[in-house]
């Protein structure tokens, strides 16, 4: 069994919702953004995290990097408690951990400072972390640009001179600057053009092989998740509803939500007849999520128990985890 790099244990994050007004502001509810989420990420693998908007994907990413503080639960990096280091560790300890875990954002237009040159952007991590003597900055910046498929002369340019795909390459170079071994890519291709998406997906795959990176790949685009991930977790309203190896999940989806989600993606081949499962209604508000199984109001096969009992993730063999009622799951055992 491969080595576990990241372990997430029972992660919970709720955001308070306040009523209007300044003086009479009071809490009227809670957004259950992430509710009891657990998973492991092995070294050198890509874990795909999929779900629709508002299901808690990005919040999970922020929690892992401690950009949001979890309400409860644990995040371990190589067995070390991440939250503890960020809350009570020394600056050195915190920076050391930051160097290991980096983030690539969705929108390369918003995540690059328009007034910094590419050189400044890619070398800023050196300045912050101070792990590289200044004499070596130039070589390292050029090496990084080369790794992501940019040229040396690009270093003196500003972000506005680049296309979306090239900007995303700059973001990846910046993330790689501190030699991390774990990168969270939060929808890295969804704001790019179709013909550019493949470039970035392939780049991420190549870098993984060359540098030995581990990814958490977050996306709502299931086709790209299938392309790049080794294992996939499906989230719905703050919970993981299914977790399996990529091919297993896409070829044999079991949770009714996963089935509907996969069937909803149009296949670029008119000969493939689609048996689309169209879900009724919309994702309910995470402020007062439905009782019992959170998917039950939209599910095709609701049993009475689904409205009362919240199903737990059950292993149905070969590490394929599904959170659904037992009667349904017994059909697949």
């Amino acid at each position: 069994m491969a080595e576990k790099l990241i372990e997430v244990r029972n992660l919970v994050k709720h955001f308070p919702v306040y009523s209007r007004g300044i003086l009479l502001k009071k809490q009227v509810g809670e957004v259950h953004a992430v509710d009891d989420v657990s998973f492991d990420i092995y070294k050198n693998e890509t874990l795909g995290l999929v779900g629709e908007s508002g299901c808690g994907k990005t919040t999970t990413a922020k929690l892992i990097l401690n950009l949001e503080v979890p309400d409860s639960g644990e995040i371990l990096y190589h067995g070390e408690d991440v939250t503890k280091v960020f809350m009570s560790g020394t600056t050195e300890q915190r920076l050391a951990l930051r160097r290991k875990m980096q983030l690539v954002f969705q929108n390369p237009y918003g995540s690059l400072d328009p007034r910094m040159t590419v050189y400044d952007i890619v070398s800023e991590p050196f300045r912050i972390h101070g792990h590289l003597p200044k004499s070596k900055w130039d070589d390292r910046v050029y090496e990084l640009l080369d790794m992501v498929g940019l040229e040396e002369y690009h270093a003196e340019r500003y972000p506005h001179e680049f296309s979306g795909g090239q900007r995303q390459r700059i973001c990846i170079a910046r993330a790689l600057a501190v030699e991390p071994d774990f990168i969270i890519a939060d929808e890295p291709i969804s704001s790019l053009d179709v013909s550019i998406r493949a470039q970035i997906l392939n780049l991420l795959g190549d870098l993984q092989k060359r540098v030995g990176l581990t990814y958490l790949y977050i996306s709502h685009d299931l086709s790209s998740v299938r392309q790049i991930s080794h294992r996939v977790a499906v989230m719905y309203l703050g919970k993981i509803v299914e977790f399996a190896d990529t091919d297993e999940l896409f070829d044999r989806p079991i949770h009714p939500y996963t089935q509907a989600l996969i069937s909803a993606i149009p296949i670029p081949d008119p000969k493939k007849k689609m048996n689309r499962i169209v879900l009724p209604g919309e994702v309910p508000s995470p402020i007062n999520p439905p009782k019992g199984c959170r998917f039950n109001p939209r599910c095709t096969c609701t049993e009475s128990s689904c409205r009362i009992e919240e199903p737990k993730l059950v292993d149905i063999g070969k590490g394929h985890l599904v959170a659904c009622n037992e009667t349904y799951l017994s059909k697949f055992a």
Binding site: A198, L222, S223, R226, F250, P268, P270, E282, V283
Partner: protein, 328 residues
């Protein structure tokens, strides 16, 4: 052969910006037949949206239709006055935009926005209009139409807003509907709902539809014919099943090979470089700098659309010498 509802011939729409003239649409020709769903596919900057806006004569400044013919039901749209165009827009030709949040006015109830469209084109009593709107809402499957039509756009979710936009476009039962990436901003399960709805409505109303998208999956799903656009020009026109199986243009091949698929994992082919700048587009065939099969002639001469088989044309110098891979 069914009759053409819309004929676009040699359309050129250019934008006169300070940086130079942007050749956004540069010689695009296609027809829309009665009752068909035509797909306009291409990446951003390929001229899909500008083509639709040109037909509606809604090209924003500094853009201008420079050349070409647009005939709708036999009438020349470019010869119409602005007044006459207003009678056509929303009545005979309607459009659904990509982002329902910005295409609906936030300060009016959705009822008054739909009533606007109906009152502009039809004479009807207040009750008549209200009844019609309720009917439309039922038609696009918005639950509790009577109550919801009094609400404001912000009270609707994304998918529901897009349904309102669809209802507004259908208010006067148009003959031709442009749908400009109507599901790009929606979640996949909601996209499935909206696509199903549009398929349904099209059959019920028997109108023609032009589906603008960059998603080859949506094209395969709902269109019967496809126009592939690249950098303001047409690459290939074919019936949908033919396009996926016997495509003839290198760009179409590249586009299909670069898209990941949900049903299988494959090696993604990369289209090198970026989409060209349309102020100074590449000479000859605009795809040649990114084309793996490019020859010298491609840099020099602009390829004309040639017929490969009935109903299937391609603009490529080399199509006879290439054997390209479609799907499957």
């Amino acid at each position: 052969m069914s009759e053409n509802i819309l004929e676009v011939e040699g359309l050129k729409t250019h934008f006169y910006t300070e940086a130079g003239v942007v050749l956004a649409v540069d010689g695009v020709s296609f027809n829309v037949r009665k009752g068909e769903t035509l797909g306009l596919v291409g990446e951003s900057g390929s001229g899909k949206t500008v083509t639709a806006l040109s037909v509606l004569r809604l090209v924003p400044r500094p853009g201008r239709i420079v050349e070409g013919k647009i005939r709708f039901q036999g009438e020349d749209l470019l010869a119409k006055t602005e007044e006459e165009m207003r009678d056509i827009r929303g009545d005979k030709i309607a459009i659904i935009f990509q982002d329902p949040t910005s295409s609906l006015n936030p300060v009016y109830t959705v009822e008054s926005q739909l009533a606007d469209v109906i009152n502009t084109h039809q004479k009807s009593s207040k009750e008549g209009v209200r009844g019609k709107i309720a009917e439309l809402f039922q038609f696009v499957e918005i639950p509790e139409p009577e109550a919801r039509m009094r609400e404001y756009p912000h009270q609707f979710s994304g998918g529901m807003k897009q349904r309102v936009a669809v209802a507004r476009a259908l208010a006067c039962e148009p003959v031709l509907l442009f749908a400009d990436e109507p599901t790009t901003n929606l979640d996949v399960t909601i996209q499935a709902q909206v696509l199903d709805l549009m398929k349904d409505l099209k059959t019920k109303l028997g109108m023609s539809m032009v589906m603008i998208t960059h998603d080859m999956g949506i094209i395969a799903d709902i269109t019967s014919r496809v126009v592939v656009l690249y950098a303001g020009r047409v690459c290939e026109i074919a019936p949908t099943p033919v396009l996926y199986e016997r495509l003839r243009h290198p760009y179409t091949e590249a586009l299909l090979a670069a898209v990941p698929r949900i049903d299988k994992r494959k090696k993604l082919a990369i289209i090198p470089r970026n989409i060209p700048n349309l102020i100074s587009p590449p000479s000859g065939c605009r795809f040649h700098p990114r084309c793996p099969y490019a020859k010298d002639v491609c840099k020099e001469r602009v390829p004309e659309l040639e017929e490969v088989e009935p109903g299937h044309s391609v603009a490529c110098h080399e199509w006879r010498n290439l054997s390209l891979n479609g799907v499957g």
